[in-house]
């Protein structure tokens, strides 16, 4: 397998944690809430899923527990920011630190243990194609994530639910005036974001690299938040961005496999460096951000 085939085959799986977490954050931000705790929410989801799967609960249950656990922690964020109108940046950081601490606490006795991942399912015919065939051999979670992406895009763009979420983020006062409960929409959006971050962490810990290690999320939650900016709050672009980051995180492995003499630390920091560069490129176009950005993002709502 050459480097391109290797990257194509693994890209979607590597992209899945970024994608799931970024979709969750997208919904929260669309509703006007900036939750910076994604890294901690992912870490908590990862450890919960790992514990369930390690004790024979199965992957399905692992994902459910991870989703519920991280959603519960994100509700704490909702409680502080919506209930007490706390600064969302500070509250997000607190949730992130708390989530990482809890994951290390729960995962202490599971450090460096492994579980079995999930089998890959091949699409007939398409998976036989040369070079790009690997794209069509993926585990079930990748397929579900792709379907979820599509569904979320349709919901945000074309349904009343999507419209309400966007209205609450764009102009909460107006949304309130026409009778929608800004607070309840935001609570649900935050919980959804938390659950998705939990799924993302679960995927990282029980499917992608089925092992638990403290700090294994390694900045992916932060990159997911950056992805929402890269994608200028649009589902399709976030998906493309997640694929880019899936590819970038594989490039390190591919480069090592080809025997390239580059320090491994440089390859490990590649996703972070790419994030910094892309963030600069996208943000430099202020009109683009203004056009698509969420007007009330990060601001507390007061009637």
């Amino acid at each position: 397998m050459n480097a391109i085939e290797f990257i194509l085959a693994g890209m979607l799986a590597a992209a899945t944690p970024f994608l799931l977490a970024a979709l969750g954050e997208l919904v929260a931000e669309r509703a006007g809430v900036l939750n910076l705790g994604v890294e901690g929410l992912m870490a908590l989801g990862a450890v919960l899923a790992f514990i369930v799967v390690y004790h024979g609960g199965g992957h399905f249950l692992g994902f459910i527990v991870a989703g519920l656990g991280s959603a519960a922690l994100s509700l704490l964020f909702a409680f502080v920011t919506l209930g007490f109108r706390a600064n969302q940046v500070a509250a997000g950081l607190a949730i992130g630190i708390l989530g990482q601490g809890l994951s290390a606490l729960f995962g202490k006795t599971y450090e460096s243990l492994t579980v079995k991942g999930l089998p890959k399912l091949a699409l007939p015919a398409l998976s036989e194609l040369p070079v790009i065939g690997g794209l069509f051999v993926q585990d079930i979670v990748v397929w579900i994530s792709l379907a979820a992406t599509l569904a979320l895009w349709a919901i945000l763009a074309y349904t009343k639910l999507g419209l309400v979420v966007r209205a609450v983020g764009e102009n909460p006062k107006a949304a309130h005036a026409i009778g929608y409960s800004v607070i309840s929409v935001r609570i649900l959006a935050i919980a959804f974001g938390g659950a998705m971050a939990g799924f993302a962490g679960a995927y990282a810990a029980v499917v992608y690299t089925p092992l638990w290690a403290d700090g294994m999320i390694a900045g992916r939650g932060w990159i997911a938040i950056a992805l929402v900016v890269f994608g200028t709050w649009l589902t399709g672009r976030i998906f493309l961005g997640a694929c880019l980051f899936g590819a970038v995180s594989l490039m390190g492995l591919a480069a090592q496999a080809t025997g390239l003499d580059v320090p491994s630390q440089l390859l490990s920091s590649l996703p972070y460096l790419v994030t910094i560069i892309v963030l600069g490129i996208i943000s430099a176009d202020r009109r683009l951000l203004k056009l698509n950005g969420v007007a009330s993002l990060g601001e507390p709502f007061e009637r």
Binding site: L36, G40, L76, V80, F84, R85, A86, N87, V89, A90, A91, L93, A94, I95, G96, I97, L98, G99, Q100, G101, L102, A104, L105, K108, S181, I183, S184, I187, D214, A218, G219, W222, I223, I225, A226, V229, P263, Q265, L266, S268, S269, Y272, L273, T275, I276, L279, G280, I281, S283, A284, R286, L289, E302, R303
Partner: protein, 366 residues
């Protein structure tokens, strides 16, 4: 609305003026709340809460040896938090102090690593200065990205911290690894003159603690008394007003980040030239993140930060004690830090709001 929040629930009502009592009480209430919450957690984990309380909150004060360790721990937290708070007040959210701290440690180590035989009283001051410059340079990347490219400083500064951690690993596993160090990822031990002189004999507290206290006074003067500090705060509170008054936003971002990077870099330099005595991985132990909590808990006020840094240092040292005597995992310290900040954010809401229990429905009608 009524489905989610029945009207019998209390609501927050904005106070006419901020409550000073609540502002002073918030950190105390938050600390009490966080202690109670975490003790509950330890009980759930099957630990003896009395043993934990004793180890965490009393033992640090019981001997001069352990209290001096509290002071040693408080130094970097205090220094970094003072720098960060200046930025936070101007609404510049530099959360990459960890990376700036690491770069400070690296820059400072360059002298003893490259000139291990050099001697003279100039070495440690030069290291501290070089470290501070290193931290400021690392922070200036974030400032450039924010001012010139409009990129979010939270994300960029955090990403740069992750890169800094990799850079540290690279140096310690590669070019800066001690050739006689049995393959451990650490630099050579520094020579005598590359160490900050001890302040109190018999302890590890060194002269950098005095520098930190001095810079805290400088931070207080800057924020409360100087026109520059005033301009920064106006920019944070009312960006539009600041713009009309001719205070440039880009200037505030550069200044905030450079101050934050300078302080964090200095703290990193003091860490390698002080308690560590060499560049090693453990220098990246999360001071940069903990200092964010210290800054908030101190109400972003230079004097409050001195107190909150001491409190956080007690929690660190106490956590170490509890790890030994009550077999508490060290991750419990991180949980404590996170819950402490959350509790503070709840408590501090009462500075600007008060709870009202009988908010009648009619009042919201025209």
């Amino acid at each position: 609305m009524s489905v989610w929040f029945p009207t019998s629930l209390p609501t927050l009502v904005r106070r006419e003026r901020a409550s000073l009592a609540a502002a002073l009480g918030a950190p105390v209430v938050a600390l009490g709340g966080a202690i109670a919450l975490n003790l509950g957690l330890y009980v759930l984990m099957g630990r003896d809460p009395a043993a934990v309380v004793y180890a965490m909150l009393f033992e640090p004060f019981l001997s001069w040896a352990s209290f001096s360790e509290v002071l040693l721990k408080a130094g970097p937290l205090l220094l970094i938090a003072q720098g960060l708070a200046i930025g936070f007040r101007a609404k510049v959210f530099n959360i990459g102090a960890e990376g700036q701290f690491i770069l400070g440690a690296i820059f400072a180590s360059a002298i003893p690593v490259w000139f291990p035989q050099a001697s003279g009283q100039w070495i440690w001051p030069a290291m501290l200065l070089l470290g501070a410059i290193g931290g400021a340079i690392w922070a200036s990347l974030t400032a450039f990205w924010r001012v010139r490219l409009n990129a979010n400083e939270i994300l960029v500064s955090l990403m740069l911290s992750l890169v800094a951690a990799q850079l540290l690993n690279y140096l310690l596993l590669g070019p800066w690894k001690d050739p006689n160090g049995f393959n451990f990822p650490q630099s050579v031990m520094f020579q005598y003159d590359a160490m900050v002189p001890t302040l109190i004999t018999g302890t590890r507290v060194n002269v950098s603690f005095l520098i930190t206290l001095g810079l805290s006074v400088a931070a207080w003067v800057f924020m409360q008394k100087s026109f520059m500090g005033y301009k920064l705060q106006v920019g944070g509170l009312a960006p539009r007003a600041a713009g009309y008054a001719g205070f440039r936003e880009g200037w505030a971002i550069w200044l905030s980040l450079l101050i934050g990077g300078f302080a964090a870099g200095l703290a990193g330099a003091a860490e390698v030239a002080g308690p560590l005595g060499q560049l090693q991985r453990s220098v990246a132990s999360g001071y940069g993140y903990a200092a964010i909590i210290v800054a908030y808990l101190g109400g972003l006020h230079p004097i409050g930060i001195v107190i909150s840094a001491l409190v956080m240092a007690v929690i660190y040292i106490g956590g170490d004690n509890a790890m030994v005597s009550a077999s508490l995992p060290i991750a419990a310290v991180r949980v404590f830090q996170g819950s402490l900040l959350l509790a503070y954010l709840i408590a501090v809401a009462f500075v600007r709001y008060r709870l009202e229990w009988h908010r009648t429905a009619q009042r919201s009608l025209p």
